[in-house]
């Protein structure tokens, strides 16, 4: 979930009114946001807010969040007259970005506009950087699908070239550096290159932006140039561009940025993008571009989902309160999504706007009336029987995590571990594998519980996974029972007696078949056979294994697959 920090003075000025913390908390629910903290800060206090809706990147800035709240309290919808759309192209005043065919497979899309007419101040610059980060990090998947750059428009000349450049022969001075570096060198020598380089490093050519005079704008999605790409307080003419791989999310991000700046008082100037290849919106797109489609709702369907009789008129008013343009034709409502939103896929998305617009407290909870029969799963029932017998036998139940290390589950157990599920992207040593057995967990308890009064009798009922090529999933999850005795004279006979008692009270029979298993002492281990199937193992833990765990007390254990016994 994205979290943002807003300057309270700027925020309340944009909303049009100031609020106390409790009032703000309540108001924020309209945007599915939560008030985290409100901290004193010189030049206006900082409000920390968490945004829960990952499909509403428009709310991840001071301006965007303030807009949603302002709309809720006012009647007028904002107007953004700078959008082009299908069949309605705005004048781009010869501002053009030319796209190189070589980018088609690398980073095919770009959107751009200029914002002018207002010197940028410190809180606004901070918020611009914050919303750029949130858009590109959370919504743009850490810049891989969206990256954004802001430049000094007064210093550059159109047309801008968006081209695929040779990383070794192209060089410039990037931001936060004082020497010229090749694109390739930036990947290894510049902090941003190290952080984001993997997005482009696999390509032969890298994306590159320069103006008509060959002045470098940036190496998207990595870093701006030190000259054109450095925006400072007081600058009043900005060129904003966004590059990416998915055109809809790119256009949306561009629209969000443009609406935010327009709300701040900037005049937005459209830019024409000239593609040498087809896009879903043609080869020429003037951005910001409105691409969203209208979505309709049958009021009756809305009423059914809300469980409340609401007239089409009232429903339309609720939607309007959320800042959304809506038209009514009889019982049918048609919504024109705001340019900064792309979360209307289905009429249910309109229903939620009605719910929030009308107010949650206007809906009375109804106790569920449908008669249904509650039931535990058969495995849960069986597990409870087993648990009760184990407790009766004097065992303490344990519960363990399912992820573990190869050291514990393979090396210390003296097994080859060929059927263990290994994790391809472990976060740490303790998440290298999913457990195949509970015995290592029980032994790990023994290895750290030498101070607990003996005898130790412990058990766990839980899940394990092993590879199984017969299965569709190539693996099998089992519910297992494992128990372990540790004491001065603990041995095979103890656990076998308990195994015998367990089977008796489960009304099952078993026999033992001698087996060799490196985890157990040879001649003191058996496969547990039940109705002709191998359902588990019983034996005395091998001293070599005990040594691996640093255990100095004899242990004997059992592991049973309950799926085969239940």
């Amino acid at each position: 979930m994205p979290k943002i920090e807003v300057n309270d003075r700027v925020f309340f000025r944009m909303i049009g009114r100031s609020m106390e913390s409790s009032e703000l908390s309540k108001a924020l629910t309209v945007a599915k946001a939560e008030l985290d903290d409100w901290l004193p800060d010189p030049g206006g206090n900082l409000i920390k807010i968490e945004l829960n809706d990952t499909n509403r990147p428009d709310l991840w800035s001071t301006v965007g969040l303030a807009r949603q709240l302002r709309l809720f309290f006012s009647e007028t919808l904002p107007s953004y007259p700078f959008f082009s759309s299908k069949g309605n192209t705005m004048d781009s005043a010869n501002r053009v970005v030319q796209v190189d065919p070589g980018l088609k497979e690398i980073r095919p899309y770009i959107a751009a506009f200029i914002a002018e007419g207002l010197p940028i101040d410190d809180p606004l610059l901070k918020d611009l950087i914050q919303s750029q980060e949130k858009l590109c990090w959370n919504y743009g998947r850490k810049r891989s699908s969206i990256a954004m750059g802001v430049y000094r428009a007064d210093l550059m000349s159109f047309p801008v070239q968006y081209r695929a450049a040779d990383p070794d022969k192209t060089s410039f001075i990037p931001l936060d550096s004082d020497k010229e570096l090749s694109l390739r060198a930036i990947l290894t020598e510049h902090a941003k290159g190290i952080e984001f380089g993997s997005i482009v490093s696999g390509f032969e050519l890298f994306p590159f932006l320069e103006d008509n005079n060959g002045e470098v704008l940036s190496f998207p999605p990595i870093i701006n140039s030190a000259r054109l790409g450095a925006v400072n307080v007081g600058d009043s003419q900005h060129f904003i561009e966004l590059t990416g791989t998915d055109i809809d999310s790119l256009l949306l991000a561009c629209s969000i940025a443009a609406c935010d700046l327009a709300d701040c008082g900037y005049t937005i100037g459209p830019v024409r993008i000239a593609y040498p290849y087809d896009t879903p919106y043609g080869r020429e797109i003037v951005t910001p571009y409105y691409f969203q489609k209208p979505v309709s709702l049958d009021t009756a369907y809305g009423c059914k989902l809300l469980g409340e009789e609401i007239s089409a008129e009232e429903a339309a008013a609720c939607i309007h309160k959320m800042g959304i343009e809506v038209s009514r034709s009889g019982e049918r409502l048609t919504v024109t999504p705001p340019p900064y939103r792309n979360d209307f896929l289905h009429s249910v998305d309109i229903v939620e706007e009605i719910m929030i617009g009308r107010g949650m407290e206007s809906f009375e909870p109804i106790w569920p009336e449908d008669f249904t029969i509650g039931r535990l799963s058969s495995m849960e029932m069986f597990s409870r029987r087993v648990r009760e017998i184990m407790v009766g036998l004097g065992y303490q139940e344990m519960i363990y995590n399912y992820l573990g290390s190869s050291r514990d589950f393979v090396e210390r157990m003296n097994i080859d571990g060929c059927d263990i599920i290994e994790i391809a992207n472990p976060m740490s040593e303790n998440s290298e594998i999913v457990r195949n057995s509970q015995l290592p967990n029980l032994l790990s308890s023994e290895s750290t519980s030498g101070n607990a009064v003996y005898p130790h009798r412990i058990f766990e009922i839980g899940k394990t996974v092993v590879k199984d090529s017969e299965e569709n999933y190539g693996s099998r999850t089992s519910t297992k029972l494992s128990f372990l005795v540790s004491d001065r004279e603990a041995g095979f006979n103890d656990v076998n007696s308990h195994l015998s008692a367990l089977f008796f009270y489960l009304s099952r029979d078993y026999s033992l078949k001698k087996i060799t298993d490196p985890r157990f002492i040879h001649g003191r281990a058996g496969a547990v056979m039940c109705e002709g199937k191998d359902v588990g193992i019983v034996g005395e833990i091998h001293p070599e294994v005990l040594k691996n765990w640093g255990i100095q007390m004899p242990c004997a254990g059992v592991e049973l697959d309950l799926d085969f016994i239940a």
């Binding site: 289905h346 998305d349 407790v391 009766g392 303490q396 391809a424 740490s428 996974v465 999933y473």
Partner: protein, 516 residues
């Protein structure tokens, strides 16, 4: 109190001795028929209670017969036997004596040496032993007298011997081992006790109450059978002595907590579901209408599996229907996500990251109306700390019905707030889940935790239900019960829920899920 706590060994000892009477272990062994262990216990307990005190210490020397000494005592000393033989048989050579007395030549030689030295016996010209002076029997008598002392007593104390006897016994004794000596010498320091003033008071109380120390201790089957308990009193026990610790079999308190939660949910009409730990991208996300390009599906948000990397197949017609829904909305009335659905990616195996997987998988076989739940292990790509675990339980479920709507959804959340969490105050706020619309969260005021988010719920998007063949609205819900679990178990670190420390788990107790 003190009287009740006295052991019979203590009582009998207290009763037996009077003021200023010296109490020694020897006397206790003799007079009360205690064995040495019982005597020492009685001394140590009574000293600790200050009912007896040490008066003085005395070093005592005692003698015991060795095996050889016992042999002398039975058959007479070698000297005595030789003298008697000569007296009876007349002069004999030393080897003759040895043969007749079945002794070794060496033994006969050494005994003769001693006797000839004292002048009792001598040797004639034929090298035969003869009696020289009948009156010099003292050498033999002294030893015989000493041996006779041991016929009545096993142990003879040095203080009871004459000076000559003491000298003789010391010369014939060995302190340790005593392989060849006649006597073993024991040296010991003995403590002598007397009753203290409080000992005397206790003694008086015992006498007054008629307590003898012969009261019944452990009630045995024999006592029941012979009904001896009718004639005797029972000894009262000190019931405030800390009892001995018992190691018992026990459920894990966290498992019990989860069991109570499941019981609560089935009491509310929910049926339990479960499923495999390894899942496909299809069920984990695609079936829930999360687009494949969604940022929450990046490599660092779920655990991938080295082998098997992919499932063999995805069940039809669900695969086709879900794919079409993502691409263009299929028949769901949705615009869809408008991208090319990747059928290779959808088969990829991952560790289940949300319980909602099982809600989705339950849809094709669900009854209408129906309520389902699962308390299932899920895996998160999180660094483990006090508030984050890599694997943990999620509580999730669904409700299907013709009449399912926002108001019944609120009713469901209210039911969880009241019945599962025991909350008296709760509030609803709009929520967000990628697979539900509309979505609502319920926040409750917990008696110990204050306001927190108990759970969330929403109506499954048609893009989720329609591809599974479901035509009625479905509520999807989830409960965050980890914080309630910590409160119930008295913990403040999530990692402790899964601790392997046996002693910690043995001593852990649990409060109820809620007060209802």
């Amino acid at each position: 109190m003190l009287i009740q706590g006295l052991h019979p060994l203590e009582i009998k000892l207290l009763l037996h001795y009077k003021a200023d009477e010296l109490i020694t272990s020897e006397k206790v062994l003799d007079e009360l028929s205690y064995n040495l262990g019982q005597c020492n216990q009685a001394f140590s307990w009574l000293s600790a209670k200050e009912l007896i005190e040490e008066k003085s210490r005395e070093k005592s020397i005692k003698f015991l017969l060795t095996e050889l000494g016992r042999d002398y005592q039975e058959k007479g000393s070698h000297e005595e036997r030789i003298f008697k033989l000569i007296q009876k048989q007349g002069p004999l050579t030393l080897p003759d004596i040895a043969v007749r007395l079945k002794l070794e030549n060496r033994e006969v030689g050494s005994a003769f040496g001693a006797l000839s030295k004292s002048g009792l016996l001598g040797m004639n010209e034929k090298k035969q032993v003869v009696i020289l002076d009948n009156k010099k029997l003292k050498a033999i008598d002294a030893l015989t007298g000493l041996l006779n002392l041991f016929t009545q007593n096993e142990v003879v104390e040095k203080k009871n011997l004459s000076l000559e006897q003491a000298e003789l016994i010391s010369s014939l004794g060995r302190k340790r081992g005593a392989s060849r000596g006649l006597f073993r010498i024991l040296e010991k320091e003995e403590v002598i006790y007397v009753l203290t003033s409080s000992g005397l008071k206790v003694r008086d109380i015992l006498l007054n109450q008629g307590i003898t120390g012969d009261e019944i201790g452990i009630l045995t089957p024999e006592l029941l059978k012979n009904e001896a308990w009718k004639k005797q009193k029972f000894r009262g026990y000190n019931i405030n002595i800390p009892p001995v610790r018992v190691l018992l079999g026990r459920k894990n308190p966290y498992v019990e907590f989860l069991e109570r939660l499941k019981d609560k949910l089935i009491s509310l009409g929910f049926e339990e579901f479960d499923g495999p730990l390894l899942e496909t991208e299809f069920w984990n996300c695609d079936a829930l209408f999360m687009p494949q390009f969604h940022s929450a599906r990046d490599i660092h948000d779920v655990y991938h599996v080295k082998d098997p990397t992919h499932a063999k197949e995805i069940e039809q017609p669900y695969l086709d229907q879900v794919a079409a829904t993502h691409e263009n909305g299929w028949k769901t009335g949705s615009l869809g996500w408008r991208y090319k659905f990747d059928r290779q990616f959808t088969r990829r195996m991952i560790l289940r990251s949300q319980g909602t997987v099982l809600s989705a998988k339950t849809l094709p076989r669900a009854k209408v109306p129906g309520k389902y739940f699962g308390v299932v292990r899920c895996f998160r790509y999180d660094r483990v700390d006090a508030t984050h675990l890599a694997d943990f339980y999620q509580t999730e479920g669904i409700v299907l019905g013709e009449e399912v709507n926002l108001k019944t959804l609120l009713g469901l959340l209210k039911m969880f707030a009241v019945e599962v969490a025991g909350a008296e105050e709760f509030k609803f706020v709009p929520g967000y889940f990628p697979f539900t619309e509309p979505s609502v969260e319920v926040h409750i005021k917990h008696p110990e935790l204050g306001w927190f988010e108990l759970g969330g719920s929403g109506i499954f998007r048609p893009e989720v239900t329609a591809p599974m063949g479901i035509k009625v609205p479905v509520l999807a819900w989830g409960l965050g019960i980890d914080r309630m679990a910590l409160v119930a178990l008295g913990l403040n670190d999530l990692r402790d829920l899964f601790t392997g420390d046996i002693e910690q788990v043995r001593l852990r107790t649990r409060k109820e899920l809620c007060r209802r």
